[in-house]
């Protein structure tokens, strides 16, 4: 049964090409996307493309954000100002006491992602070499 009006196969292909191009441009290098894909990995386990993409997202999302941020309070007047000051002091104390721990965690996260990526690249290289070798053997061009 053919589709009248819209060629949905062509449209999906066009969108995939567009997404590939944007991915190269870094449009989707976003930790939020990595988080969104956590339930998709099980279905897309056979997709090399998704795995590569997910590893890229991980690189972006691997660091725990320990930078300062703007502390605000919706309440007006002295009450609001007082609360902002109190929260600022609490944050500074919290950061002082936990900085070392977060810093170490970030180092571990970064090492794990690097190890995962290296392992993936090594496997990919080995598979490519094996596939090339098999193709040569099958075509009888091997020496």
């Amino acid at each position: 049964m053919g589709a009248e009006g819209v060629d949905v196969e062509a449209l999906v292909r066009e969108v995939r090409d567009e997404v590939s191009r944007k991915r190269e441009e870094g449009v989707y290098t976003d930790a939020r996307i990595g988080r969104a894909e956590r339930h998709n990995l099980i279905y897309m386990a056979d997709s090399e493309e998704l795995l590569k993409f997910y590893l890229n997202c991980l690189k972006d999302g691997v660091h725990v954000d320990i930078n300062d941020f703007s502390i605000e309070d919706k309440r007006a007047g002295w009450k609001g100002k007082g609360l902002v000051k109190m929260k600022t002091v609490i944050w500074k104390l919290l950061k002082f006491y936990t900085f070392r721990m977060w810093h170490q965690q970030n180092q571990i996260n970064a090492m794990l992602v690097t190890a995962l990526e290296s392992s993936y690249k090594q496997s990919e290289k080995k598979i490519n070499e094996l596939e090339k070798r098999i193709a040569e053997l099958e075509s009888g061009t091997s020496e």
């Binding site: 567009e18 996307i33 969104a36 894909e37």
Partner: protein
């Protein structure tokens, strides 16, 4: 023909799943075509307790003689759940364990006895869905006259040896879609003579596309999902994707939900969600008609009734690439698009929101497809072509 349909629960609006709705609809189609049709079911209405919620009864509904029989209540739930747990973990079972699982599943000795008394006069027994003890017992006792309406999914239950035997032993199967038939052929080593693709009739309707937004004071585009909100339907993926989409697009779309479930909605997505729970059929189709898209992320469907309803409401759909049946419906109709991962989802949803001409064209293509493929006459023709042996799998 004299036909008996058998299903564990009788479909009353809003209280049963898609499979029971489909079986009731097929019975209606057969009755409307002038055949003598009866439907045998149980007194249970709650799929969690499977207790006899009402007394045995008999009534005529839409030209179908419907009878309710008591379920066997003294089943050994411990044995049933113990084996079921091992099935879910895909552990190897002995034949005795499989038989114990069936015997302690949902069964009705009274229904079996009534069928036994009448089987000689019947031309065919049509029973489903596949994973209930009642279905498996009917398929064994009356195999030569049984047509299985499996509503088969690619899941651990489908790999139970005893279930494979039933598929091989029955007269044939009535499938809802080609991917479902292909799955049965793949899992059980069946040939194309194993049955035919029928589906069910979807009644067309006209609906005011603005009524829902007016009633709920909604402004701007919204997408919709109707049905159970659970892991098996891949709802967590929908919530995660919409959460990310609303963050990256500064809340450019809202999500309307109907149905129930136990999946929690991410806190930051909640301001963009209108979760209505169970609503009337009228409100559901009004909500569908006003939506930018119906999103169905499930990868485990045998038919996709809500997808077809959405098209009748003129709304295009977005489905997951790995949902074989739903993607097949989109490819056949030209009424929907499919995504593999978030970036594709984002890009497709952007287009559906921004390009109203494309949105309308997809919705209209879906609408034409449902009206021509799933009207009652077409379904009756397919059903009796299969039952009378005129066609096998298409």
């Amino acid at each position: 023909m004299k036909l008996a349909f058998v299903t564990p629960r009788f479909a009353v609006e809003g209280v049963v799943g898609g499979a029971e709705t489909l079986i009731r609809d097929l019975a209606q189609t057969a009755a409307a075509a002038g055949h003598e049709v009866q439907l045998l079911t149980t007194c249970a209405t709650n799929p969690h307790t499977w207790s006899n919620d009402r007394d045995p009864w008999e009534e005529v509904v839409d030209g179908i003689r419907v009878r309710g029989f008591r379920v066997k209540e003294d089943r050994d739930l411990g044995v049933f759940l113990g084996v079921q747990d091992r099935i879910v973990k895909e552990q190897k079972l002995t034949r005795a364990e499989e038989e114990a699982w069936v015997a302690n599943s949902i069964t009705s000795p009274e229904l079996m006895s009534a069928l036994e008394n009448e089987i000689a006069e019947l031309d065919a027994v049509l029973v489903g869905p596949y994973l209930f003890g009642l279905t498996l017992q009917v398929s064994e006792a009356f195999a030569e006259k049984t047509w299985l309406i499996p509503c088969l999914h690619d899941e651990s239950y489908a790999r139970v040896g005893l279930i494979a035997d039933r598929f091989r032993a029955v007269r044939g199967c009535l499938f809802n879609s080609e991917p479902e038939r292909d799955l049965a052929m793949r899992l059980y080593g069946l040939g194309p003579e194993c049955g035919g693709v029928v589906g069910m009739a979807i009644e067309p309707f006209e609906v005011d596309a603005d009524a829902f937004a007016r009633k709920h004071g909604l402004e701007g585009p919204y997408v919709i999902y109707c049905g159970r909100q659970e892991d098996g339907k891949n709802t967590p993926l929908l919530f995660d994707y919409l959460h990310t989409y609303t963050e990256r697009r500064q809340g450019a779309v809202r999500l309307v939900l109907t149905g129930s479930g136990d999946v929690s909605i991410p806190e930051k997505l909640r301001p963009y969600v209108l979760n209505l729970g169970f609503v009337s059929e009228q409100e559901k189709i009004e909500a569908m008609a006003g939506a930018t898209a119906f999103i169905h992320p499930s990868v485990n469907e045998s038919f996709g009734i809500v997808l077809l309803e959405s098209w009748l409401a003129g709304t295009p759909v977005l489905v997951h690439d790995k949902g074989e049946v739903l993607k097949w419906q989109c490819q056949r109709s030209g009424g929907g698009l499919w995504f593999q991962y978030y970036p594709e989802f984002e890009s497709l949803l952007d287009r559906l929101i921004e390009d109203s001409e494309l949105n309308q064209a997809l919705g209209q293509a879906g609408n034409r497809y449902v009206r021509s493929t799933y009207n009652r006459e077409a379904i009756a023709e397919k059903l009796f072509d299969v039952l009378e042996g005129k066609i096998h799998a298409q």
